[in-house]
């Protein structure tokens, strides 16, 4: 199967997961929000931990079953800087690729559109700078 068809299938599954969560619990599947509130919010979080457990278990299950064990490609120092930026940025920016990029855009939210355009543009510039520094 062509990689783009796999990606389309993956997208449809992500949409199905979003459907399950909103139809079942009435919540958006925004992963940064689920993770941040599960760990650092006094609110009732049983369902958040259950979702995260499914995400972690499912990730391993499907990666092994379909031989999709992809390695990280950044050096450790860069991974730490990137992780801090992603964690801090998604909390103050109210979401990430799932919350803004899927749920927010699907709900035609202007906040999400502005977020997606901003993080995609900055992501593209960042990769361009990385490539330039690596001399590619």
């Amino acid at each position: 199967m062509h990689p783009y068809l796999w990606s389309l299938l993956g997208g449809l599954l992500i949409g199905a997961a979003t459907w399950i969560l909103v139809a079942g619990l009435g919540r958006v599947a925004g992963i940064s929000g689920i993770a941040a509130n599960a760990m650092f919010s006094p609110r009732e979080s049983g369902w958040r931990f259950a979702f995260l457990l499914g995400l972690i278990v499912g990730g391993a299950l499907f990666a092994f079953a379909f031989n999709r064990i992809s390695p990280s490609i950044a050096p450790k120092g860069l991974l730490i800087v990137a992780g801090l930026l992603v964690g801090f940025g998604t909390v103050i920016g109210s979401g990430c690729t799932s919350g803004h990029g899927v749920c927010g855009l699907a709900r035609l939210s202007m906040r999400s559109l502005i977020s997606v355009v901003s993080f995609m543009a900055v992501g593209a510039v960042t990769v361009a700078v990385l490539r330039w520094m690596q001399g590619a």
Binding site: G11, L12, I14, G59, L84, R111, I114
Partner: protein, 146 residues
């Protein structure tokens, strides 16, 4: 409480299906993610459009998901929908997205794929996730400053 167990099972299932989508769609491969963000490679044919297909598929289904639930009265296992309501465009929204985009480009991981890779990604993914959680804690602290 039977309903609480059902709620946890539904949330777990959603996470499981979400992970299947991320893995099969290629989102847990940082090289593919950077390949998509590498728009400078469009002209030379080096660009990897995979992520656009992931987003397209996800948006197609979730658009109808939110439309259909908007027409229904309440979720199966909760008294009401708790969907985001804010509509204001403020500075933290944009600054946060800029920081997130920079981190996403540097590592090739956003929160979902990083967590879905946690059990097989070794020390590298564990470091990223630990730093991400630290960043979240810092931001929560900064938000609740007096």
């Amino acid at each position: 409480m039977a309903q609480e167990k059902q709620r946890l099972l539904v949330a777990f299932s959603s996470g499981l299906v979400f992970a299947a989508g991320l893995v099969l769609g290629g989102m847990t491969d940082p090289k593919k993610v950077q390949g998509f963000l590498d728009v400078g490679g469009i002209a030379s044919g080096r660009w990897d459009a995979s992520l656009a297909f992931v987003m397209g598929g996800a948006l197609l289904v979730s658009y109808f998901a939110f439309r259909s639930v908007a027409a229904s009265g309440a979720p199966w296992l909760a008294s009401r929908f708790e969907l985001p309501t804010r509509r204001d465009i403020d500075t933290p929204l944009v600054v946060g997205a800029v920081m997130f985009g920079a981190g996403w480009g540097l590592a090739g991981y956003c929160p979902g794929p990083a967590l879905a890779s946690l059990a097989f990604g070794g020390v590298d993914v564990a470091l990223f996730v630990a730093a991400m959680l630290a960043g979240m804690a810092l931001a929560k602290g900064w938000q609740s400053r007096g």
